[in-house]
Structures are given as C-alpha cells and as structure tokens.
Amino acid sequence: MSKVSLIIQREYLVRVKKKSFLIMSLVGPILIAALMIVPAWLATREEDSQKVEVIDESGLFINKLKNTENIDFEHTFRSLTEAHEDLNNNGDYTAVLHIPKVIVTLPETAQLFYKDKPKGSSIRYMEGQIAKTIENKKLEDLYSLSLDQISGLRPRVKIVSNKLNDSGESEESADELATGVGLVLAMFIYFFIFLFGVQVMRGVIEEKTNRIVEVIISSVKPFQLMMGKIIGIALVALTQVALWIGLSSAIVGITKTVFSEKFDKVQTEQVQQLEEFNPALKENQQKQNSNPMDEVMFQLSLINFPVVIGCFVFFFIGGYLLYGSLFAAIGSAVDNETDTQQFMMPVTIPLIIGIVIAQVAMENPDGSVAFWASIIPFTSPIVMMVRVPFGVAEWEIALSMVLLIATFIGSTMMAGKIYRTGILMYGKKINFKEIGKWLFFKG
C-alpha cells in the first residue's frame, strides 16, 4: 500500500471511529428529519375543530359560509346574550360569530367570541368567507351579475418564467424551488468547508504539538502527509454527508409510512393554509392542477438534477480542497489553537463574503455580482451553487471549475511550502512576513 493511502486510511479511521462522529451522524439526520416531521406532526396535533354559532343580524350570510373539515358554521337566531351564556356554560358551540346589520358598510364590525382561541388560520378563513360574501353581494347589487358571472370576473394570473438558453430556445425555469434548493446546497458547502477545514487545521496542530510530525516526515514527504490528511478528512466529510442523506431520508420515509394518512392530510392542509395567506397562489394552483403536490413535482422536474448534483459534488470537493490546504498551512504555522486567530481572518472572510453574496444571488442569479462571485474561486463554490438550479450557461460553469482547479493546485503548492517549514518550527512568534519568507525556502 502506498504511503499516502496509509495516511489517508489512518486519518479517516481515526475520525470515523470517534464517538463524536457517531453522534454527529445520528443527531444530524434526526435534526433534519425533525425539521421536516415535527411541524407536520404539530399541525396534526393542533387540529382545531370549531363549531361556530353564527348570529347573523344582516341575514346575508345564510348558506354562504362554507364549512370546512374543521370549521362548522351553524346559524342560530338567538340573541347574543343567550349565545354568550351558552358559551360560558360550555354548550354545543366552541365559538360565536356575531355579524351585525351594518356589516356591508362597516366590514370591521364582525366579532368572534370564544373560550379557547381558534387557530389564526381559522379566523382568517372566516374573514375570507365574510369578505367574499360581501363582495359578491355588492357586485350582485350594483351590476346585477349572477354568481357565475362574478366567478368569471376573477382573473387567474400566473407568470411562467422562461429562460432563454444559448441556442435561443426558451425553457421554463423553476423559480421558488430553485431558490430553496440552491441556497440549501450553498449553505451546506459553506458549513462543511468550515467544519472540516478546521478539522484539517486541528489535525495539523495536533501532530505538531504531539511532536510526532518529525517521526512521520522522516518516512514520508511533508506534502504527502498534508495531502493524506486533507483527503482523509474529505472522505470523512463525504461519509458524513452520505450518512446524513441516507439516514434522514430513511427516518422521514419510515415516519411517512407509519403516519402516512395523517402526513398526507397535513401536507395538503399546510398547502391550503398557504393558499389562504396568498390568494394568488391559490388561484393559479386551482387552474394548473388540483393537487398542490403536483405543482411541487412539476417545479422539481424543471431543475436539472444531474447538473445540480454534479456541480454540488464538484464544488463541494473543490472548495474544500482549496480551503483545506489553507487551513493546513495555518495549522502548521502556529503552536496551538489560540494562535490561529490572526491567520484565520484572511481565510474566513472570503467564505463569509461568499455566503453574503449567495443571498444576493438568490434574488438575482444572473446579476453581475452573482456572476463574478461565481467565477472567482474563493467564493465560487458557494455562489455558483445558488445559481446552478436556475440554469447557468455551460461556459460559465466550465470557467468557474477550471479556475477553481487551478487555484486549488496553486494554493495546495503554496500551503505545502508553508507547511513544510511550519511543522518543524516551534516557539517562534510567526507573522505574515515570516510565512512569506517560508515560501521561498528551498526544500
């Protein structure tokens, strides 16, 4: 077995066998799964059935308020005081909706009485129903329109975004979902570069403070040791990612089958609630297709997943290698972790700039800031990931990749020179000028 692969093997096994790795591998997917399951689960728990007594003094709303699964409207003709008493004595109804005579001219005068507060969405649903009824009534009165005519009045607008590709053909592009996918992947790269870059640095410092480094570099070249460490830790990172993806989809999958009915119902409900907040969405959903999940699937189908996943793997590895070598150089230059601060700055700042620009790029993926940031290697792994799901010209991706490769080769060679001198340097206060000199020492 070659020496580099021995080093890779050690770096990998030592970390994978650690308890903290096991914990991270289990806790990560649980957290991810929890993020997906818990809101759904909570929503099922908080199912809120309301039986609403409607006291309609205007007489306009009889049979106009539509019941839903959770809300039952029932018209009574009692007085408000009677209804209040009943509510107080825990009668048949969970709430009392009082609609005064003046509702048409003063739409803010409707009142809801309850003992346990209904969900906000239930209240907004009632508001929506009342508003719609009043609107219909007005249209009917003023223009003598029939209900059919009225529903025909409501235009259902949807803008379909189309991106012209280089050959001038237009492709429908996925907008909302693309934003989400891109940002999540970019954040992922950002965190993993940080997390595992710092691990590289710690590993180097550990070898230096343990004083084992001189023993090892009498058997292998310092560059081999550095690369072995960087690659070994990269494999740890990939293992972690794979475990996270595998385990969290397993957890979500299992939960889904176990609570399958509830889950689906909740999902549709969530979409419904969303629609109530955003009428426009509802309209176009209704037009496009009845099932909101289909719309999500349709949007997903617009993202070019092979390209996105390919880019993710490439930029993940490329970005990690670029920063990993810099972190290794920092680790070699210092005696302990507290001394790393001043050297960390120039390495972390481009990363942070990257994540800031990623948010700009999310809004405007083809703007010049996003373009340049996704070409320049120090920010490209993060920013390009935001842009890729929207569809990016091939030459841009290719240019960005080539520059990234060239830069990490350069940075690795530079880091190798710093590393070579740094690991054998003890008890000396190091500054940037000193490190600059190391670049020119002969091997």
Partner: protein
C-alpha cells in the same frame, strides 16, 4: 574502513543565518558515531538533511555508496529529539502504522512488534491509548518503532532523555546489540559520559562548522596535556619544593592517609624525570597519566572556537 555515510561540504542557509557551513562528516560502517555540539550548533539541521526532511543548499550526501535518494528513508531509523506519538491512538495500532510508513508489510510489522513488545515487557499495553502511558513507557514504544524495520543506519537524537537509569541501560544494551548485528548508529547527545562509553568516533559541530572529528581514543590522546596524578605519602611542602621548574602543580588533596597531586609536565619532560625529582622527598604509591574527558575537550574546544 568503509563508510556508510559520507557528507561532503554541506551548506544549509536559512533566511538570516547559516545552519551548516561547509560541513564534511564520514561515518564508518558498523560503528557508533557521536554527533556532538552545543545547542543550536546545527546538529539537528544536519540530521534532518540525512533524513531528507530538508535538503542541503549545496554539498552531497552518499549513503551506503549511493547518492542520497528518497528510497533510502527505509534504510534509516530516526528517533528525533522532539518526539511524540498520537495521544488518542492505541499503542499497537500506532506502532503498526508507523512501521508501515517505513515500508514494512502489515503482517511483517505485527510479527516483529510482538517480539519487541515481549522483550520490553510491554505486551499488555497493546490496546492502551498513548495518553494513558507514562513518558518513559511512550519512549520505549518510540524506540521500538525506530528500530523495528532493522535500519542499516540508526540516528538517535538524545535517546536516553526521559528514561530512568534502568531503562536507559536497557536502551543502551539494545543499541550495542544492534551495533553487533551490523547497524551503524549516529548518536546525537549532550551526555558526554555515554559518548566516552559507547561512541567510537565523533564529530563536534559548533556555530555551523565542524571543529573536531575522529576516533574518540585518538582525540583523547591528541588532547593529552602531560598531566599526571601522583599518589604519595609524606610531606606536601617537601613534594612542592622537589618539583623543579619543568613542572607545574595543578592541584593537591588529602585522601585518607595518602596525598594526591596533579602535575603538569612542561617542555616535553618525561614522567621518569618527575619521579626522579620527587622520589627522595616522598613515598610514591602510584602515578597515572590523566586522559582528558570528552566533556573537558568539548567545553575547551567550543569555548576556544567561539572566541575566535
């Protein structure tokens, strides 16, 4: 005599200081060679060049008849002065790893480690983490790892530091045994006692330059100053007056009923002449030539060299 290592005119320059200035050293095969010098003289730089951790700016190294090349790392065992192990790793696993880095196969390394662990009575530590070991224990593991691949050339930098006298003896006898089996050992140390005891040749480096080299016995002969220690009974005043102008009394002391005096003979006078002069005054019980210790030679040479 055949040499295993020949270093010719080695120069190593760091940014502002010269670590090695035209140093040439020859290490005879099968010997124990002492590499001496004060702290910061350039010993470690020299050792690192032999280990190919750094390269010389100029000069050449010939190892076992060939120009030094990457493949030679497997011929060399190196115990650095600044040494340590991965604290969180298990002893056996770590020893296997380091042995494999030196080119041994896994099964080979395992078999050899077993023998050494038994010899050093540390087999029960195989599954312990290094952080659980005492410093001396860790040093033993380190020594084993250094010699496991049966290197032709063994470079030990302060091998005895961190050992109690019992274990230091154990290590010393292992070094002697390895020498008997044909290894060549370069010993870098400040412990002049062990240099006199086990080294056959030395090189003394000071301020990046080699200032002295050769067989230990030869050097000691070369540095003799014609000093004799005389044991006698009688009157000290009589003894002093008997000394003629050709000698110089350096020190004297009472040892029980005997008196001892060290005398330096000047102008190439012989000890017989000294005896003739004093024999009528005192009763002589013994006379012995004083051989300079390596420690004295070291201090004297370094001081003289630093002044000039």
């Amino acid at each position: 005599m055949e040499s295993i290592l020949v270093a010719e005119n080695i120069v190593k320059q760091y940014a502002s200081h010269r670590a090695l200035d035209d140093v040439s050293v020859e290490v005879p095969k099968g010997s124990i060679f002492g590499l001496l010098g004060p702290n910061g003289a350039g010993k470690t730089s020299f050792i690192r060049i032999i280990n190919q951790i750094t390269g010389p700016d100029s000069g050449k190294i010939i190892l076992d008849g060939e120009a030094l090349a990457p493949k030679h790392v497997e011929m060399i065992g190196y115990l650095p002065e600044e040494r340590g192990l991965y604290k969180k790793m298990e002893v056996g696993e770590q020893a296997l790893y380091l042995a494999q880095l030196k080119g041994l196969s896994k099964s080979d390394a395992k078999a050899k480690l077993k023998v050494w662990f038994e010899k050093f009575e540390i087999t029960p530590w195989w599954n312990k983490k290094v952080e659980e070991l005492s410093k001396g224990m860790a040093q033993k593991v380190q020594f084993i790892v250094t010699v496991l691949h049966e290197p032709k050339l063994l470079i030990l930098d302060e091998p005895f530091s961190g050992f109690d006298p019992i274990n230091a003896n154990l290590i010393q006898s292992e070094i002697m045994r390895l020498k008997e089996e044909g290894s060549t050992i370069i010993l870098s140390t400040h412990n002049m006692g062990s240099v006199e005891e086990i080294c056959e040749h030395i090189a003394l480096i000071n301020n990046a330059k080699k200032i002295l080299s050769g067989p230990v016995k030869q050097i000691q002969q070369d540095f003799k100053e014609g000093i004799y220690e005389i044991t006698f009974k009688g009157n000290m005043i009589g003894f002093t007056t008997a000394l003629w102008t050709g000698c110089e009394l350096i020190s004297s002391s009472d040892v029980g009923e005997y008196k001892k005096a060290t005398v330096k003979l000047l102008d190439n006078k012989s000890p017989n002449e000294l005896l003739k002069a004093i024999i009528s005054e005192v009763e002589v019980f013994g006379i012995q030539e004083v051989i300079p210790s390596m420690s004295d030679i070291f201090i004297k040479q370094v001081k003289a060299n630093s002044k000039s």
